[in-house]
Each structure stands twice: as C-alpha cells, then as structure tokens.
Amino acid sequence: MKLVKPEVAPEIEAATLREMYRSMLLARMVDERCWLLNRGGKAPFVISCQGQEGAQVGSVFALDRGQDWFAPYYRDLAVVLALGETPRDILLSVMGKAGEPNSGARQMPSHFGSRRLRIISQGSSVGTQALHAVGTALASRSRGEAAVSISYVGEGGTSQGDYHEAMNFASVHRLPVIFFVENNNYAISVPLNLQMAVQDVAVRAAGYNMPGVVVDGQDVPEVYRVTKEAADRARAGDGPSLIEAKVHRFTSHSSDDDQRVYRPEAEIKQEAQEDCLPRFRDHLFEEGALTQEQETALRTELRKQIDDATQAAEDAPYPAPEEALLHVYGQEPPSLDDLRGEPRVTWDVD
C-alpha cells in the first residue's frame, strides 16, 4: 500500500461544497422540525445536532460513502443524512411509526443504524460503538479491503473504559480506524473540567501512540482536511487517528432537559454567534460556489421536502403491537407465543 500524506489542504469542488452545505442545512431544518413536533406533542423525545453539523458533514464528505463504516452517536443527525437517510426516515423515527428504517420504531429517535448505508447500529449505552468500529476495521483488514471505520462520540463518551480499550486495540493492531470526538463541552450538564483533567481529548492519543489533532468544528473545510488525512493514513496501513472537533451545542441535551439551569446565558449567546452554518454559507458565497438566489431556492426546496415528510410520517400507521415479538433471533421460535409474558397454560373460563 502507498503512503499518502497531502501536504496542502485539498481542493473541494464547488459542486461538492454546495452538496455539503445542503446536508448541513437539511440537518438543521429537520432538527428544528423535530423540536416543533415535540413541543406540539407529536414527538415524545428529541435530541439535537444543532451547532455540530459542520464537524459532522465535513468528516463524512472526507470519507468514502459506500465503502467506509460509520459508527455515529445520537447527535449525528447530519452524519446520517449526509450518508443517505431521508427526512422521512427521521420523522417516522421521532413519531415511532411503522417503516422507520433504523430500528423498526423500536429504539428511541436518533439511534441510527443501516446496513445498506454502513451505519453501525448503536444502543444508548455511551461509548460502546467505538469497539464496534474497531471490529469492523479488523474485518475489513482481514479481507484486504481498503475500508476505514470511523467512530463518533461526544467528549463525555471518551471517559468510558470501552473507549480507551478501543483506542488501545486499534493502535496495537494498527487498524484503519478514525476516532472522531465532537467536544461540545457538556455531557448533559457536566462540564469539561469535571469530565477530564486535560484540556483537549486529543492529548489522549499520545498514550495510545497515535496522532491526535484538535480542529475547529466550525471550520468545515478544515474538518474535511484533517479527516481526509486520517483516512489516508488508515488506508495506507498506518493505523488509527484521534480527531477532536471543538463544537457548540445550541440546544439543551434533549427535549427533556433545560440547559439554562447549568449554563451561563452569556456563553450560550456567544456560541450562537459562532454558528457553523452561516459561516460556511458565507464561505461559499466568497468562493463563488453559491449565490444568494440559490440559497433561497434551496431553503424553499428543503422546506417543501420536510413538510411532505412530516405529512407522510403523520399519515403513516403505527407498527402492529405483536411486531414486538419479531426478530429476537434469526430463526424465529416455532411459535411466537413462546415469547409472550402470559402464562403458557390456559383454559377456557367462559
């Protein structure tokens, strides 16, 4: 294998830049729609990507969609939309409707997973997915494939033992893995200084003998560049990398949380000024990759798409209750009734 190390920032074509912006904007607008539905009583639970779209989209576009494996965490709405999930998929998911593709409406919203899109399913136990990314990388390498696995996590998730075990395993076996941390400074309410005794998660990389870089998550091209570099290293057989994107969390942890209780108002206001979305838009304007008219048309188009998706999700049926008995094993038991909680022996009492 050839060792590839770009010396300069890669050129991103205008069409790709527009596509990236479209992904970010779509994620923001879908996310806002989910909150609207939550406050309207139609979506029981929402957890957000707002503020982190730049880091998410920048990293996805640096990878090979269709070949590489993605292990997102619950905030990665922009990741999965960029990979091919649709607004309709997401809206079915927040309403728990039949046809929801991630889990058949079994999991809470934002627990993504799709074999077709190579999105590794995740549970709610934080940090476990890093090991799955390592395992998929081990399998890819076993077969001599060039696929890279990327594991996303918040900075809180890096405190888990599984996360450290994953970095160690990947590095010992020089596996093609990217550990991508979206550090938004808060794990629900716990601030960074109570989460870890270091300023940057990236310094952890040294302990596992892998490169660790800090990148401004608001700077989409820069996120793209460092991710591309890590992917090239991985494909060249040089092992894993750790990327820490410093991002902002605009919303409360979830629809069940109120961050005003534990975050200074000034900080929230300040971060809102640094939104990756207008920043990237202006960058595209400057580069001549996007015009104001195109941007307005894009918003109209996405709005229509999301409206249609909302209507479709509202019209969709719920899953049949007994579907809860399906897919425990690859081979279903002779009778699904064997799985029921009711007494197995019954008699007619009429």
Partner: protein, 341 residues
C-alpha cells in the same frame, strides 16, 4: 495463573478425544472450512490458550486469524461484535468465565439486542467461549458458573456441552449460528472426560435440544456440563436399589428444550435439577417453574433443586471447595429423598 510450558496431546485410544481436543478440533475444522472464522482472546495465539483449547491454530492459520488481544474483556467482546457485523464469524475466548463480567454490557446490551434493535437489519454471528465451573482449586475467580446471567437475556443462546461428541458438534453449530452464542466449557471436564468423536467427519449437534443421557422411569434429573456425569453416576447407584432414574443433559440452557423436559416429567412424575451455580434464581429455577406451570397434573412430588450454596463464590481450601461442589454423593442423597416421597 495457568500452566507453564508447552502443550502436548493427551494420549487417547482411536476415535477417542478428550473434551478439550474436541473443542480444538471443532475450531480447526471450521477455520479450514470457512475463512471468515477467526479466533480471538488473551493468550490464544502462540501459547494456544491457557488450557490449550486453541493449541496449534496460530501455527496453522496465522496471526491475522488467531488474534492475541490486549487484556481487556470488553474489547474482546466489542471488537468481535464489530467484526461479526462486518462479515466475520469470530470465536472469542474469555480466559475464564469469571472474567466475562467486564464484557457484560457488550454482550447483553449490544450483541444480544443488535438484531432486535435494527429490526433484523444487523446480526451478530459470534461465539464467546469460556471455561467455567469449579472443583479445580480455582477459588473465587477461576471457578464461577455464570450461565444464569446470560440465560436470562433474549437474543443470546447459552450452550453447555458435557461430552466431547456434543462439544464438537455444538461448537460447530454455534459458529454457524446467525446469532451470538455463549459457549461454556467445564474446565474440569477438559481432560477428565473422554469420548468417541468421529474422525474427520463434519457433523453438528443442534442447539436447543436436550439429550437423554440415561433412560429411566421413576424420576427425571436435569443437568448440564460436568454435573451430567455426576448425575449418571448417582443414577447407577440408584439403579442398584431398584430406582430407575432418567438423566436429561440439557446441553442448551437458552433456549431450553421445553418439550424434552415436559416429556420426561410427564413420564416420571418427579424432577430434580442439578447445577453447580448458586442455587437461587439459577437455571434450576426456570426449569422447575416450567415444570410447575406446564406439567402440574403429572407431578407426583415436589420439584427439587440441588445447586451450589448461596455464597458469593467457591473457596480455595479443599474442604470448603468440596463442600461447595455438588458431587455424585450429594446428588445420590437428593435422588433418594425424591424417590422416597
């Protein structure tokens, strides 16, 4: 704590294998047959495992398929899950069942739920092998029986063979199974138990089916792993006194072979469950509840359980260890109690 030096083949007569040779043989056959089968765990490489279960595999298949992992059980399970998701069939070894607990979350929250939580989109065809059980001076952390923790979890299968023939046939079935299988091997059986295993013959034993280890009419005794052998010994003693004891080797504790359990109890009317794990809330509880619920009208006596005592684990000192372990004598006493009822 395991041994020094290299492993040698235990001498056995033609067609005979020890329990651990059968385990080795199953993995070798499957690795030869299917390139996606890989073995991973602590010391499974050059050393061939602390008990020798993977002896020779590293030499034959190389370090990419027989992988020595860091000493971190959660990573062994978690990486195996990832590899299984991406097309491999990992056989992960926990060096001792006692050390599986750090991997509990990966096994129970991830592997077991993967198919269900993705509505059948993903599956985890993975085997986790672990030596379990006591009677070998292993004390608290090299003697545990952990099957009940996992047998409680839908999405997992829990297999515990007692003979070399079943060990090989069931391990092959486990490797080919589309879902995660926990495969517990009684470490005292490794070299103690020898038996016929067809040479060079590819065969499987189905998961989820019990086996009649000894036929009888007057009571049914249910066991798995090493305890099957002890129960058969005790049953032979009972036979001398005119009591015909049926011993059922459950072989799989999840899913239980309900039909085999029911058929036997419907025939005999009496049931005893023997297991080495702590008595309370173990496999014995489920088997006895099943009998109470589904065989009530056939019962001719209380359903009895003989298990390990409800203390945290098996002590080291020999008298205390013997006190903990069920043995043929204790089983015989329990059988006599039940026969007298």
């Amino acid at each position: 704590m395991a041994g020094l030096g290299s492993h040698k083949t235990v001498e056995t007569s033609a067609g005979q294998m020890t329990f651990i040779q059968a385990i080795q043989s199953a993995m070798r056959d499957e690795m030869e047959r299917d390139e996606s089968v890989i073995v991973m765990g602590e010391d499974v490489g050059v050393k061939g495992g602390v008990f020798g279960a993977t002896a020779g595999l590293h030499k034959q298949f190389g370090g990419l398929r027989v992988i020595d992992t860091p000493l971190a059980e959660s990573s062994i399970a978690g990486v195996a899950i990832g590899a299984a998701i991406n097309g491999m069939r990992p056989v992960a070894e926990m060096q001792f069942a006692d050390f599986i607990h750090p991997a509990f979350n990966q096994i129970v929250s991830e592997a077991a739920k993967m198919r269900y939580r993705t509505n059948n989109d993903f599956s985890v065809p993975m085997v986790i092998r672990a030596p379990f059980g006591g009677g070998v001076h292993g004390a608290l952390y090299h003697s545990q029986s952990v099957e009940a923790f996992f047998a409680h979890v839908p999405g997992l299968k829990v297999v515990i063979p007692s003979t070399p023939y079943d060990a090989k046939g069931l391990l092959i079935s486990a490797i080919r199974d589309p879902d995660p299988v926990l495969f517990f091997e009684h470490k005292k059986a490794y070299r103690l138990i020898k038996g016929e295993v067809p040479e060079g013959e590819n065969y499987t034993v189905p998961i989820g089916r019990a086996r009649v280890a000894r036929q009888g009419n007057h009571m049914s005794v249910f066991a798995y792993g090493l305890m099957v052998h002890y129960c058969v010994q005790a049953a032979e003693e009972m036979a001398k006194e005119g009591h015909s004891v049926e011993v059922i080797d459950l072989r799989t504790v999840r899913p239980l072979d309900r039909q085999a359990i029911k058929s036997s109890v419907e025939k005999t009317g009496k049931a005893l469950i023997v297991y080495e794990a702590n008595r309370t809330l173990g496999v014995g509880a489920e088997v006895s509840a099943l009998i109470a619920e589904e065989c009530f009208e056939y019962l001719d006596g209380p359903v009895l359980r003989l298990g390990g005592p409800d203390v945290p684990a098996m002590p080291f000192s020999a008298p205390m260890e013997n006190f903990f372990m069920p043995n043929p004598e204790k089983i015989y006493k329990a059988m006599r109690q039940l026969a007298a009822y």
